[in-house]
């Protein structure tokens, strides 16, 4: 493991995880414990401003985020972990922009000084929890913790936007795969999910039903087409939109989606043999129990390879190399 020397991180839960996405908070903390790293909640952290403050006034928006970075640095932590993609991108972007733009850096620090704080860009490394699990803990250590593999559970890994964009560097900006691999390590069957990095609509549910519900419908439709039992997400906004608005999508479009939306940490906890309640299964509005009941003790039987029809026209081989 290549975490901090003591295997600990400052933990920035963000507002969603205190209530609406409490399931994500609970499950993040228990899988961290199971994997042997520490999440130390940042003292007196404040809201990151979501996408709202940047729309009103950019300088206070950066200053709002920078207070959290300054507090992290003053606690002596070198890395801060955010499970919420929006918090993550705001923290990441503020640190990066303060480093890239001297004028912004100067003004943000002048604002911080009014609160007797200061922050030097680069002093805190901002990480998403998925990044920590995949790159610091690593797939081998995750595999070693699996006690109840999720055989036959078909999952669609949904990354959404902000974990990969703007360029945060730990996975592909358009077709990320780290969570796919993580789900395979847990024993689940990963379905292809072409819309895996498309937008869930963000706050558009509050502004335009026309825009938001169509974006949500597309995602649910795509995962359903590929016969997923559940969508697995890394962001509370994505979870809320796909879960809580699913009923409205069904009413508006005459669809019958019944797709449970789980956090990747909940799925990890289940694979680690934890009770569903320990990872807050049951907080989702679309019930996940029917999907979870599909998990079997035996791995899925691989379909037998068909013998090639020698009289058929020559076709390129579809078998993977290596």
């Amino acid at each position: 493991m290549t975490a901090n020397a003591n295997g600990s991180y400052a933990y920035y839960p963000g507002c969603s995880l205190t209530k609406n996405a409490a399931a994500y908070d609970v499950s993040s903390r228990v899988i961290a414990r199971a994997l042997g790293f520490e999440l130390n909640e940042l003292t007196d952290w404040n809201c990151c401003g979501a996408s709202e403050y940047f729309s009103l006034n950019q300088l206070p928006a950066y200053a709002l985020v920078a207070r959290n970075l300054a507090l992290t640095a003053s606690e002596g932590a070198k890395q801060v972990v955010a499970p919420c993609s929006l918090c993550y991108v705001n923290l990441y972007k503020t640190d990066k922009y303060m480093g890239d733009h001297a004028d912004l850096n100067e003004k943000v620090n002048a604002a911080l000084a009014a609160g007797k704080l200061a922050y030097r860009a680069g002093d805190v490394k901002v990480r998403h929890l998925l990044d920590v699990v995949v790159n610091d803990v690593g797939f081998d250590n995750v595999a070693a913790a699996v006690k109840k593999p999720l055989y036959n559970l078909r999952v669609a890994p949904y990354y959404g936007c902000l974990i990969v964009r703007p360029r945060t560097g730990f996975d592909d900006v358009e077709y990320p795969t780290t969570m796919d691999h993580l789900m395979e390590v847990l024993g689940a069957t990963v379905v292809d999910f072409p819309l895996k990095a498309e937008c869930c609509g963000g706050h558009m549910t509050q502004i335009s039903d026309d825009v938001a519900l169509e974006l949500i419908r597309r995602l649910l439709h795509n995962a359903t087409e590929y016969e997923a039992d559940a969508i697995v997400t890394v962001c509370p906004m994505c979870q809320l939109n796909l879960d809580a608005y699913q009923d409205q999508v069904n009413r508006r479009f005459g669809t019958r989606f019944k797709m449970p939306i789980l956090y990747f940490t909940q799925v990890m906890g289940l694979a680690f043999g934890m009770e569903p309640k320990a990872v807050a299964i049951g907080k989702e509005i679309v019930d996940a129990r029917p999907a979870l009941a599909k998990v079997t003790a035996e791995p899925p039987v691989q379909p037998k390879k068909k013998r090639r029809d020698k009289s058929a026209l020559p076709m390129p081989s579809t078998e993977r190399e290596g």
């Binding site: 609406n20 979501a50 729309s55 009103l56 009014a114 936007c161 360029r167 409205q248 907080k283």
Partner: protein, 189 residues
């Protein structure tokens, strides 16, 4: 002042207010942004056209359009732009300018942001329940009925919505920082 400078005045205001905004001068009008935009179909003008309008100094038309408000901040345009223009950040700048100048006529989106931030400035934390009730009471009372019986009720029953806001301890410190930032922001972006 030359005619050229006068014509581009708005463009420079936009650029100056955006970290990395100077990339905008490199726009090729290729349209990759509009083609990548998940809400482009519902915008008055695609981002590409907005940039052409900025170049043509069409300040009123740009600031009164719904385009920046329908930006979902997905950053697809930003990562695909061959000229590395920070398009999402430019949309934030346009929203900010539209609010300051009172241009945007459908107030739904800007009121949502203002209500959200009102709670953050008072408590240091977001407050979904307060946001939903205050914002919808004003803009869409019928939606309140739906909230109370449908989705809102489900979230309450699942313990996913607080009835009271949380407050950080050192709210005075946060407010001092934000006030200073607002002061600096008023004296130039």
């Amino acid at each position: 002042m030359t005619a050229q400078n006068g014509r581009r005045r708005f463009k420079h205001e936009v650029i100056d207010a955006t970290p990395g905004g100077e990339q905008l001068t490199l726009c090729l009008q290729c349209g990759t942004c509009g083609g990548s935009c998940p809400s482009g179909a519902d915008m008055d003008h695609t981002p590409r056209r907005i940039f052409a309008m900025i170049d043509a100094d069409m300040k009123d038309e740009v600031l009164s359009s719904n385009t920046p408000w329908f930006c979902v901040s997905c950053y697809y345009c930003s990562v695909r732009c061959p000229q590395e223009i920070p398009i999402t950040d430019l949309m934030y700048t346009l929203k900010q300018m539209a609010i300051r100048e009172g241009r945007y006529e459908q107030r739904r989106a800007s009121d949502f942001s203002e209500t959200f931030i009102g709670y953050v400035e008072s408590y240091g934390r977001a407050f979904e329940m307060g946001l939903a009730t205050r914002y919808h009471l004003f803009h869409n009372p019928m939606k309140m009925v739906g909230m109370a019986t449908g989705m809102g009720l489900s979230l309450l029953q699942k313990g996913r919505m607080s009835l009271t806001p949380e407050r950080i301890n050192n709210i005075e410190q946060l407010q001092a920082i934000l006030n200073k930032a607002k002061q600096l922001s008023a004296g130039g972006a």
